[in-house]
Protein backbone atom coordinates (compact mmCIF):
# COMPACT_ATOMS: atom_id res chain seq x y z
CA UNK A 1 0.00 0.00 0.00
CA UNK A 2 1.09 3.55 -0.74
CA UNK A 3 0.11 6.79 0.91
CA UNK A 4 -1.07 9.03 -1.92
CA UNK A 5 -2.44 12.55 -1.62
CA UNK A 6 -5.21 12.95 -4.18
CA UNK A 7 -6.35 16.44 -5.23
CA UNK A 8 -9.77 16.98 -6.81
CA UNK A 9 -10.77 19.96 -8.95
CA UNK A 10 -14.03 21.53 -10.11
CA UNK A 11 -16.79 18.90 -10.46
CA UNK A 12 -14.52 16.25 -8.89
CA UNK A 13 -14.00 18.41 -5.79
CA UNK A 14 -17.72 19.08 -5.49
CA UNK A 15 -18.46 15.35 -5.73
CA UNK A 16 -15.76 14.33 -3.23
CA UNK A 17 -16.67 17.13 -0.84
CA UNK A 18 -12.97 17.81 -0.23
CA UNK A 19 -10.19 19.44 -2.28
CA UNK A 20 -7.63 16.84 -1.25
CA UNK A 21 -7.18 13.81 0.92
CA UNK A 22 -4.42 11.35 1.71
CA UNK A 23 -5.42 7.77 1.01
CA UNK A 24 -3.76 4.43 1.46
CA UNK A 25 -4.03 2.83 -1.99
CA UNK A 26 -2.76 -0.31 -3.70
CA UNK A 27 -1.71 1.42 -6.95
CA UNK A 28 1.05 1.30 -9.53
CA UNK A 29 -0.01 4.05 -11.95
CA UNK A 30 -2.11 7.20 -12.16
CA UNK A 31 -4.79 5.15 -13.96
CA UNK A 32 -5.04 2.94 -10.85
CA UNK A 33 -5.54 6.05 -8.70
CA UNK A 34 -8.33 7.26 -11.02
CA UNK A 35 -10.05 3.86 -10.86
CA UNK A 36 -9.73 3.43 -7.11
CA UNK A 37 -11.08 6.90 -6.36
CA UNK A 38 -14.02 6.66 -8.76
CA UNK A 39 -16.59 6.81 -5.96
CA UNK A 40 -14.82 9.92 -4.66
CA UNK A 41 -14.48 11.96 -7.90
CA UNK A 42 -17.66 10.50 -9.35
CA UNK A 43 -16.57 10.31 -13.00
CA UNK A 44 -18.28 7.50 -14.85
CA UNK A 45 -16.21 8.21 -17.93
CA UNK A 46 -12.90 6.81 -19.18
CA UNK A 47 -9.89 8.59 -17.74
CA UNK A 48 -8.80 9.54 -21.27
CA UNK A 49 -11.12 12.54 -21.21
CA UNK A 50 -9.49 13.83 -18.04
CA UNK A 51 -5.98 14.98 -17.28
CA UNK A 52 -3.63 14.05 -14.47
CA UNK A 53 -0.55 15.51 -12.83
CA UNK A 54 1.89 14.01 -10.35
CA UNK A 55 3.64 16.37 -7.94
CA UNK A 56 2.63 19.38 -10.06
CA UNK A 57 3.91 17.91 -13.34
CA UNK A 58 1.45 16.97 -16.08
CA UNK A 59 1.56 13.20 -16.45
CA UNK A 60 -0.21 10.50 -18.42
CA UNK A 61 -2.25 7.55 -17.25
CA UNK A 62 0.75 5.18 -17.32
CA UNK A 63 2.85 7.36 -15.01
CA UNK A 64 4.05 5.38 -11.97
CA UNK A 65 2.87 6.53 -8.56
CA UNK A 66 5.19 6.25 -5.55
CA UNK A 67 4.56 6.37 -1.82
CA UNK A 68 4.16 10.01 -0.79
CA UNK A 69 3.22 11.31 -4.24
CA UNK A 70 0.52 13.91 -4.82
CA UNK A 71 -1.81 13.01 -7.70
CA UNK A 72 -3.97 15.78 -9.17
CA UNK A 73 -7.12 14.64 -10.98
CA UNK A 74 -8.43 17.15 -13.52
CA UNK A 75 -11.92 16.82 -15.04
CA UNK A 76 -12.32 17.76 -18.73
CA UNK A 77 -11.07 21.31 -19.07
CA UNK A 78 -13.05 24.27 -20.45
CA UNK A 79 -10.95 27.40 -20.58
CA UNK A 80 -11.56 30.34 -22.87
Amino acid sequence: MKNVTVCYFAMFREHAGVAEETLSLDVDTTADVFEQTRDRHGSAEPNGHCKVAVNDRLADWNTPVSDGDTVLLFPPVAGG
Binding site: F9, A10, M11, E45, H49, K51, A53, D56, L58, L72, F74, P75, P76, V77, A78, G79, G80
Partner: protein
Protein backbone atom coordinates in the same frame (compact mmCIF):
# COMPACT_ATOMS: atom_id res chain seq x y z
CA UNK B 1 3.59 35.77 -20.92
CA UNK B 2 0.71 33.79 -19.39
CA UNK B 3 -1.28 35.29 -16.53
CA UNK B 4 -4.42 34.59 -14.49
CA UNK B 5 -6.39 37.37 -12.84
CA UNK B 6 -9.50 37.77 -10.73
CA UNK B 7 -9.85 41.42 -11.80
CA UNK B 8 -11.44 42.84 -14.97
CA UNK B 9 -9.17 42.49 -18.02
CA UNK B 10 -8.03 45.94 -19.16
CA UNK B 11 -7.52 45.37 -22.87
CA UNK B 12 -6.19 48.85 -23.71
CA UNK B 13 -3.29 48.65 -21.29
CA UNK B 14 -2.55 45.09 -22.34
CA UNK B 15 -2.41 46.15 -25.97
CA UNK B 16 -0.10 49.03 -25.06
CA UNK B 17 2.22 46.61 -23.25
CA UNK B 18 2.92 44.84 -26.56
CA UNK B 19 4.12 47.99 -28.33
CA UNK B 20 7.22 47.27 -30.37
CA UNK B 21 8.71 49.55 -33.05
CA UNK B 22 9.46 46.54 -35.25
CA UNK B 23 5.83 45.38 -35.21
CA UNK B 24 3.79 45.93 -38.37
CA UNK B 25 0.77 43.96 -37.21
CA UNK B 26 -1.14 43.34 -34.01
CA UNK B 27 -3.91 40.82 -33.51
CA UNK B 28 -5.98 40.21 -30.39
CA UNK B 29 -8.67 37.75 -29.44
CA UNK B 30 -11.16 38.36 -26.65
CA UNK B 31 -13.42 35.63 -25.32
CA UNK B 32 -16.61 37.08 -23.80
CA UNK B 33 -19.23 35.68 -21.46
CA UNK B 34 -22.25 34.74 -23.59
CA UNK B 35 -25.87 34.65 -22.43
CA UNK B 36 -26.65 31.18 -23.81
CA UNK B 37 -25.02 27.76 -24.05
CA UNK B 38 -26.56 24.63 -25.56
CA UNK B 39 -30.07 25.92 -25.07
CA UNK B 40 -29.56 27.16 -21.50
CA UNK B 41 -29.95 30.83 -20.64
CA UNK B 42 -26.75 31.78 -18.85
CA UNK B 43 -26.76 34.35 -16.04
CA UNK B 44 -23.07 34.33 -15.05
CA UNK B 45 -19.95 32.18 -15.04
CA UNK B 46 -17.39 31.02 -12.59
CA UNK B 47 -13.88 30.00 -13.68
CA UNK B 48 -11.63 27.82 -11.60
CA UNK B 49 -7.98 27.25 -12.49
CA UNK B 50 -5.02 25.40 -11.09
CA UNK B 51 -2.54 28.21 -11.32
CA UNK B 52 0.89 26.51 -11.18
CA UNK B 53 0.13 24.27 -14.15
CA UNK B 54 -1.87 26.92 -16.01
CA UNK B 55 1.10 29.23 -16.05
CA UNK B 56 3.59 26.52 -17.02
CA UNK B 57 1.40 25.04 -19.76
CA UNK B 58 0.37 28.49 -21.03
CA UNK B 59 4.01 29.54 -21.36
CA UNK B 60 4.64 26.32 -23.28
CA UNK B 61 1.78 27.08 -25.69
CA UNK B 62 3.11 30.60 -26.30
CA UNK B 63 6.63 29.21 -26.93
CA UNK B 64 5.19 26.71 -29.43
CA UNK B 65 3.33 29.52 -31.20
CA UNK B 66 6.53 31.55 -31.37
CA UNK B 67 8.40 28.63 -32.95
CA UNK B 68 5.68 28.08 -35.56
CA UNK B 69 4.78 31.70 -36.35
CA UNK B 70 7.70 33.90 -35.27
CA UNK B 71 6.25 36.99 -33.55
CA UNK B 72 7.71 39.82 -31.53
CA UNK B 73 5.46 39.94 -28.46
CA UNK B 74 2.60 37.84 -27.11
CA UNK B 75 0.58 37.80 -23.94
CA UNK B 76 -2.38 35.84 -22.65
CA UNK B 77 -4.58 36.69 -19.68
CA UNK B 78 -7.35 34.42 -18.40
CA UNK B 79 -9.91 35.39 -15.77
CA UNK B 80 -10.74 33.30 -12.73
CA UNK B 81 -13.62 33.67 -10.29
CA UNK B 82 -17.06 35.13 -10.95
CA UNK B 83 -17.83 36.77 -14.31
CA UNK B 84 -20.95 38.54 -15.49
CA UNK B 85 -22.42 38.53 -19.03
CA UNK B 86 -20.33 40.46 -21.53
CA UNK B 87 -17.15 40.42 -19.47
CA UNK B 88 -13.87 39.46 -21.09
CA UNK B 89 -12.91 35.96 -19.93
CA UNK B 90 -9.72 35.57 -21.93
CA UNK B 91 -7.50 37.97 -23.83
CA UNK B 92 -4.67 37.11 -26.22
CA UNK B 93 -2.55 39.68 -27.98
CA UNK B 94 0.22 39.12 -30.49
CA UNK B 95 2.44 41.72 -32.15
CA UNK B 96 4.46 40.60 -35.16
CA UNK B 97 6.41 42.02 -38.03
CA UNK B 98 3.62 41.04 -40.44
CA UNK B 99 -0.08 40.28 -40.00
CA UNK B 100 0.05 36.63 -40.99
CA UNK B 101 2.17 35.62 -37.98
CA UNK B 102 0.01 37.75 -35.69
CA UNK B 103 -3.26 36.15 -36.87
CA UNK B 104 -1.95 32.60 -36.87
CA UNK B 105 -0.13 32.79 -33.54
CA UNK B 106 -3.22 34.31 -31.90
CA UNK B 107 -5.40 31.51 -33.26
CA UNK B 108 -2.93 28.83 -32.20
CA UNK B 109 -2.69 30.18 -28.66
CA UNK B 110 -6.46 30.39 -28.04
CA UNK B 111 -7.12 26.96 -29.58
CA UNK B 112 -4.47 25.23 -27.47
CA UNK B 113 -5.29 27.08 -24.28
CA UNK B 114 -8.92 26.00 -24.45
CA UNK B 115 -8.05 22.32 -24.47
CA UNK B 116 -4.77 22.13 -22.52
CA UNK B 117 -4.90 24.44 -19.51
CA UNK B 118 -6.40 23.18 -16.25
CA UNK B 119 -9.28 25.67 -16.24
CA UNK B 120 -12.91 24.81 -15.57
CA UNK B 121 -16.05 26.80 -16.26
CA UNK B 122 -19.24 26.59 -14.25
CA UNK B 123 -22.31 28.16 -15.80
CA UNK B 124 -25.07 29.56 -13.61
CA UNK B 125 -28.37 29.60 -15.46
CA UNK B 126 -31.28 32.00 -15.29
CA UNK B 127 -33.55 29.18 -14.00
CA UNK B 128 -31.28 28.65 -10.97
CA UNK B 129 -29.49 25.50 -12.17
CA UNK B 130 -25.76 25.33 -12.70
CA UNK B 131 -23.39 23.05 -14.55
CA UNK B 132 -19.74 22.48 -15.36
CA UNK B 133 -18.93 22.86 -19.04
CA UNK B 134 -17.02 20.38 -21.18
CA UNK B 135 -14.10 21.38 -23.30
CA UNK B 136 -14.92 21.82 -26.98
CA UNK B 137 -12.94 18.77 -28.02
CA UNK B 138 -14.88 16.58 -25.59
CA UNK B 139 -18.17 18.17 -26.60
CA UNK B 140 -17.43 17.52 -30.26
CA UNK B 141 -17.12 13.83 -29.39
CA UNK B 142 -20.61 13.88 -27.95
CA UNK B 143 -19.64 13.75 -24.29
CA UNK B 144 -22.15 15.05 -21.81
CA UNK B 145 -21.72 15.59 -18.09
CA UNK B 146 -25.30 16.65 -17.57
CA UNK B 147 -26.67 19.61 -15.71
CA UNK B 148 -26.54 19.78 -11.95
CA UNK B 149 -29.69 20.70 -10.11
Amino acid sequence: MMELTDAAIETASLQASLANPAAGGYCAFEGWVRNENEGHEVERLEYEAYEPLCIREGEKVIAEARAKFPFLEARCVHRVGRLELGECAVWIGVAAKHRDEAFRACRYIIDEIKVRLPIWKKEHYVNGDSGWVNCERCASHGMKHGIEK
